[in-house]
């Protein structure tokens, strides 16, 4: 411990044994803070309570939607389908994800970089309060039917200004919270000199950087376009520009959901299955590649839109596909970890190492299902982003099926899997064998429900059924009649998924309030002995941020100037719901 610095220098010149020593000393260092401080745990749990409330209400909205879309049910009391859809999108896409991620990230920083200072925790609570206030403002407007504009709030549909102000609060609050997490990492760096920061905290910093850089887009749109326009200060809004700013934010948003799942896969799953992190440097590199290639790619959501030259669309398509590289790296690291663990446990055959994995441990099984789901999800994503191929599926319910695999299976199942150790660790309780078993059942229920629902959405989407649409016979169209059986299948799958939500809420309440008191381990894996010293260029933030900004400018500057110079004079607002 005393000569962490000198052993690090040794590590550069010699390999193997000396390196082991340096990892041993790092291990000793982290041992001191293997639990999350109670005060930080409270802050993390506050976020997770909001997330779980959003899950229950948003899930209920989802159940209502699949029922109505099946054509068998109608909404009572004059509630609008699109009002329910807005609730579903905002609560699950923005609130559940952001709040859960922040809860997890705060715990991760506190666990691996150390307890937050009082000041950092104060900013953490401030961010939480601002985000929650914003959520309530937006929610009230949606419930009053003043904002049935869906979570993408495309202009020129115009919601009440308080709705936009609420969204601005959520974004600004998230910046404050992200700042608190980054500040803890910076403090670790100050205190520990020139060595790479703890891997899990490093990943949190990358995800927050990406989040802040991308959410500037939506903040600009809300503060400078939507708010003045909805307040009546300006008459018109530039529709294409607002959509472009939204999607500059909207695609990195999905990576903001995904990267915390990757954090669990890279740093926590290896510990749960009794292995080590395959490579610290490659894990960092893959996160940095996500930072670079998640943002300058929003046009692949706008491929069928007028007003954007096809060349710039194609350029962003190419940049989009660069995320294939870190995705392949992640897949490799996962399988390498699985195989080393299986072999260490005595597996010999080509694939028999799979049998040695802990298939009775919910903390592994449920995130593993999420990993498997990412294979078809990623393949679908490749189709979606493929320039001209996008026309086949754009705005069909195929897309809904796609992101119910990515975010609602891969990401969400990884989060559920993390809850089995995270919640009891934060509340001072223990995961029981009974809850472990129920958790595995919950994962299976989810898989069955999602396979039916998402499968039906993919197929009927290819047949042309649109997303974000109420049930309709489209004037007795033969084509629309062929969609009905699939819409029934969606309702069946959606109902099973809702049972999954009820189960996970029950499990959450058990873990948070009723499980026996005790100490549940917060598992964080160590780096494998064979790995080499992490090179410092991976922490050269100036360089990475410069490349990131340069790519954004390359991808967006000319099309943006084009919109400003040639675009139409803008549009007045409409309230058509």
């Amino acid at each position: 411990m005393k000569n962490a610095n000198s052993s690090k220098q040794d590590g550069r010149t010699a390999a193997g044994i000396i390196l082991k020593k340096s990892f041993l000393t790092q291990g000793l260092k982290t041992e001191k803070r293997e639990t999350v401080d109670r005060r930080d745990a409270k802050l993390a749990m506050a976020h997770i309570y909001v997330a779980m409330t959003a899950l229950l209400l948003g899930g209920l909205a989802g159940l209502v939607q699949v029922m109505v879309r099946s054509g068998q049910f109608q909404l009572p009391f004059g509630i609008g389908y699109y009002q329910v859809l807005t609730v579903h999108g905002i609560l699950l896409g923005l609130i559940l994800t952001t709040f859960f991620i922040f809860g997890f990230q705060i715990s991760a920083v506190s666990r691996t970089a150390g307890t937050l200072s009082d000041k950092q925790r104060f900013w953490g609570w401030t961010g939480f309060s601002v985000m929650t206030a914003g959520t309530i403002m937006a929610a009230v407007m949606v419930l009053l039917n003043e904002a049935s504009v869906l979570y993408t709030f495309y202009a020129p549909l115009m919601a009440h200004w308080i709705f936009y102000l609420g969204l601005a609060f959520v974004v600004v609050g998230s910046w404050i919270g992200a700042f608190a997490q980054i500040a803890r990492y910076a403090q670790w760096k100050r205190e520990n000199g020139k060595q790479p920061g703890p891997l899990l905290s490093f990943m949190v910093v990358v995800n927050n950087l990406m989040w802040v850089i991308c959410s500037i887009g939506v903040a600009v749109a809300v503060l400078f376009q939507f708010l003045p326009w909805s307040l009546g200060l300006v008459e018109r809004i530039d529709v294409l520009m607002s959509r472009t700013l939204f999607w500059y934010f909207g695609h990195p948003l999905v990576y903001f959901w995904l990267l915390p799942a990757y954090m669990v896969w890279y740093t926590i799953i290896p510990k749960i299955i009794g292995g080590k992190i395959f490579s610290d440097s490659l894990a960092r590199l893959s996160f940095l590649l996500f930072l670079l290639f998640s943002i300058p790619v929003g046009f692949h959501h706008q491929l069928t839109e007028p007003g954007i030259d096809a060349f710039w669309k194609f350029l962003q398509v190419v940049l989009t596909f660069m995320v294939v590289i870190p995705s392949l790296m992640t897949a490799f690291a996962m399988f390498a970890t699985f195989e080393s663990v299986g072999r260490a446990k005595g597996a010999t055959g080509l694939f028999s190492f799979f049998k040695k994995l802990p298939w009775d441990d919910v903390r592994f099984v449920v995130p593993f299902i999420g990993m498997v789901a990412f294979i078809p999800a990623g393949a679908g994503g490749i189709i979606n982003a493929s320039h001209q191929m996008n026309q086949v599926i754009h705005n069909t319910i195929w897309v809904t099926g796609h992101f119910h695999l990515t975010v609602a299976t891969t990401v969400v199942l990884t989060f559920f899997g993390a809850m089995y150790w995270l919640i009891p660790h934060l509340t001072g309780r223990k995961l029981t064998p009974k809850l472990n078993r129920l958790g595995i059942i919950q994962g299976i229920v989810w898989t069955v429900g999602m396979s039916i629902m998402s499968g039906a959405m993919h197929i009927v989407g290819l047949m042309g059924a649109p997303r974000r649409s109420n049930f309709s016979t489209y004037g007795g169209s033969e084509q629309a009649a062929e969609w009905v059986p699939y819409q029934l299948a969606q309702a069946v799958g959606g109902t099973i998924l809702f049972i999954g939500i009820v189960l996970i809420i029950y499990i959450f309440l058990q873990l948070a309030f009723f499980a026996p008191k005790g100490v549940q381990e917060y598992p964080v894996a160590e780096v494998s002995e064979g790995a080499q010293q992490t090179p410092m260029f991976l922490e050269n933030w100036k360089m990475w941020i410069t490349i990131c900004v340069a790519l954004i400018l390359l991808a967006y500057t000319i099309p943006f100037i084009d919109m400003m110079q040639n675009g139409p004079p803008g549009s007045v607002g409409y309230k058509l719901w």
Partner: protein, 166 residues
Amino acid sequence: MHIHKYEKWWLTFGITCLVVFLSIVGFSAFHAGAHPPSAQVYINQEHVDEIAPFDNPGVRKVEGEEWDYEVVVVAAAFMYTPNEFEVPLGSKVKFIATTKDVVHGFQIAGTNINMMLEPGYVSEFVTTVDKPGEFLILCNEYCGVGHTAMSAKLKVVDPDEKREQQ
């Protein structure tokens, strides 16, 4: 930074696939002209009905262009004008559409004719209609309470069969 031998193989394989894939997409886009609809044509959305060709929407045969027919459509909450079109099978058709109010979609179900209509912009897409039958045109972007009431019909008819019937 050390990269495991197998990981090098894996990444080489993956990146090669990626390059081949993007080359195919790029070739079909820039050489074969298969770009997504990306017209940069502007219009005053508040006077669509007075501006050609939208002052006279519908199907027309054209001469001296790369396409044989033009289908001109005006979208507004919650209808398309006109709401029924007929084009001969195998003809090359240019779809030209715009919106008078909010953002709408223009999707012909079961085909790859799919474009966003945004106020102030004209959307265009040229394609050969090579499947006979009656196709549903629908709005695939949420536009308000009557979103799913917005539909139209495209009939692709075989000229030979039509002659026989008459």
